[in-house]
């Protein structure tokens, strides 16, 4: 193993609490499992281009609670999701109304850990309207909320998101504010919310900055995710960040807290994700079929065992 290769420590477990696996390949699942990722949470989001009819949302939600969960299980990874209408697509109001009508059929299904990711994108009136309506839904169903904070106007958007949650009398310990940075972290923690950080190349956080945030703010209510999706992103964002924390002199417990314990504590409040799910897992059996499909094709042997360390990437993501 080269000096920069991803570490393989059998005792280290990670959770990636924000990753869009429908856009990722089986290579990614294998690499994540090899790096120690035991569970992933897939927030409902947009797909890079806006959907134009309700059936597309229905199939997407079905995928999150069915096929993708099965696909992950084939690689020994437990898959959970959040259900919600994202901010970008809230701007098509007639369609957004139909989605609001569909959400009650998916929000409380097994393995759905929160309403999300919801929030602001351009901070339009339509975004605000469906943000409110979905906070009502979360309140009605006694569910957690995952808030996506905007890329532009982030500081104001983040404050305003927390204002809305408070207006709806949501307990801040049951709300996860995601995509934080150095500008937003202090207020989010001061107001008692969970602060998630997305290690995403170029546009969000690099993991060297993340190490410094943990050094400065500690580990309480802070956790890390990859938000890997259909863009240039890294599904090993969580394990690489944990490794970098160790290399930069932070204690092992700190890495474990922000890359495993905290996301589990935050989303565990839903009652839908628990450590036993992967500590006592069903055996990996890639021969299982779901809806007539196996992940395997072309007669490949149905076994997943130690594919050689094929990733020799640097652990630094910038």
């Amino acid at each position: 193993m080269s000096e920069n290769a991803t570490p393989r420590d059998e005792r280290t477990m990670y959770i990636d609490p924000h990753v869009h696996m429908v856009s990722r390949t089986t290579d990614d699942y294998e690499a994540m499992r090899d790096a120690g990722v035991v569970a992933v949470i897939e927030p409902a989001f947009w797909l890079g281009q806006p959907r134009t009819n309700i059936g597309a949302f229905q199939h997407y939600f079905n995928m999150l609670v069915g096929w993708e969960r099965f696909r992950a299980a084939q690689f020994g990874i437990r898959h959970y999701c959040t259900i919600g209408l994202n901010a970008k697509e809230a701007n098509n109001e007639p369609l957004a109304e139909e989605v609001m009508d569909l959400l009650p059929l998916y929000a409380a299904k097994e393995g759905v850990v929160a309403i999300g990711e919801i929030g602001y994108d351009d901070m339009t009136d339509a975004e605000e309207r469906f943000f409110h309506e979905q906070l009502d839904l979360a309140k009605e169903l006694d569910m957690l909320v995952l808030v996506h904070t905007p890329h532009r106007n982030k500081k104001e958007g983040t404050s305003r998101s927390m204002d809305l949650c408070e207006e709806h009398n949501l307990d801040p310990t049951r709300v996860i504010i995601d995509h934080n940075n150095e500008e937003t972290v202090e207020e989010v923690l001061d107001r008692g919310f969970w602060a998630a950080f997305t290690i995403y190349p170029e546009t969000k956080m690099g993991n060297e900055r993340m190490v410094e945030i943990v050094r400065e703010y500690g580990t309480e209510r802070i956790f890390v995710d990859s938000a890997a999706d259909w863009g240039v992103s890294d599904p090993l964002g969580v394990p690489k960040t944990a490794q970098l924390m160790l290399e930069r002199g932070l204690p092992k417990e700190a890495a474990r807290t922000v890359c495993y314990d905290n996301p589990l504590a935050a989303y565990g409040q839903s009652g839908q994700i628990a450590e036993e799910d992967w500590l006592n897992p069903p055996a990996i059996d890639q021969r299982q079929v779901y809806s007539g499909n196996s992940v395997l094709r072309g007669g490949r042997d149905p076994v997943v065992e130690d594919p050689a360390d094929r990733r020799k990437d640097s652990i630094i993501i910038e």
Binding site: N62, G66, P104, L105, A108, K109, E110, V289, Y290, S291
Partner: protein, 302 residues
């Protein structure tokens, strides 16, 4: 069917198997739904049941199983889990006076159901109002490739034998053989046997043999009463050269055939013939022994 008795039993079993607050939650929700709450209340509560009741087995006593049978012939909730009972209970609280509105709500929840929800819905079929209205939906459930969902329709369920025409029935039995679901668990398997099904099953056996593969001995059960001509040649071959379980199955099938030739073939195997006549060899016993053997094979492989 005594639907109010079904509901009473479900309420008692949920109270016994769910935590107190889970049981109270189901009661609250069923009252809201029965009282005409908006559909979203039904949809969200139906999904959320396991969050409140947990998923323990009902673990019904022999007396409870009898009570179920009395309330609705063929109703078999004995092996259900408490969340399945809770979901059934909520479906049974939907107001059904307005037939169209009722069926459209039911249709919507079926359409969007995940795997465990589908299982609970199909298990509830035999106690729903408007039994004839669910035939297409039940047939849809058989087209799934998720075995748990298929089994919820096909096994331990009186609905198919009561409502399916021969076409749907025959497809169901053939698929049960194909996916390895036990035929003894199909209610009405003997009563609904027919000549066309016998032909389909024997054709299937020939396909398997041509590929050098075996078929479940239970395949011969619906064939027996309609076995004639070339089918008797097959049964003669099986009773002579099959595995012990296959030989027993062939004996049972031959004993059910009304033809003289079947009796002649069976007479050449007096031990098997006598076992059938004494009642020592039955389809039920054969199926149980086959299941035990399969369990041992799994244990030995593990």
């Amino acid at each position: 069917m005594d639907r109010s008795r079904v509901i009473e039993l479900l309420d008692r079993w949920i109270a016994e198997a769910a935590p107190d607050e889970g049981h109270r939650w189901v009661q609250e929700k069923q009252e809201e739904i029965a009282g005409g709450a908006p559909n979203r209340v039904f949809y969200t509560s139906f999904s959320a049941v396991p969050r409140y009741t947990g998923k323990a087995d009902l673990d019904l006593s022999a007396a409870d199983r009898e009570a179920a049978e009395e309330a609705r012939a063929g109703w078999r909730p004995g092996d259900w889990s408490v969340d399945q009972a809770g979901r059934s209970r909520l479906v049974l609280s939907l107001p059904s006076e307005d037939r169209d509105a009722y069926l459209s709500t039911l249709d919507r929840v079926f359409t969007h159901a995940d795997m465990n929800e589908s299982v609970a819905l199909y298990q509830t079929l035999p106690v729903l109002p408007y039994p004839k209205a669910h035939r297409a939906r039940a047939a849809e459930g058989l087209r799934t490739n998720i075995t748990a969902v298929f089994n919820a329709v096909a096994l331990h369920n009186p609905y198919p034998a009561e409502q399916f025409d021969d076409g749907a029935w025959n497809q169901m039995v053939l698929k049960a053989v194909f996916v390895g679901s036990p035929l003894y668990a199909i209610q009405g398997i003997d009563r609904r046997a027919n000549a066309e099904l016998a032909r389909m099953l024997v054709d299937y056996a020939h396909e398997r043999w041509a590929a050098d593969r075996s078929v479940t001995p239970e395949l011969w059960r619906p064939v027996g009463p309609f076995a004639e001509g070339a089918m008797l040649d097959d049964l003669e071959r099986v009773i002579t050269a099959g595995t012990p379980a296959e030989q027993q199955a062939a004996a049972l099938a031959l004993a059910q055939s009304p033809t003289d030739r079947a009796a002649t073939i069976l007479d050449a195997h007096p031990e098997l013939r006598d076992a059938v006549q004494r009642g020592a060899l039955t389809w039920g016993r054969l199926a149980r022994e086959a299941m035990d053997a399969a369990d041992h094979a799994v244990e030995n492989a593990a």
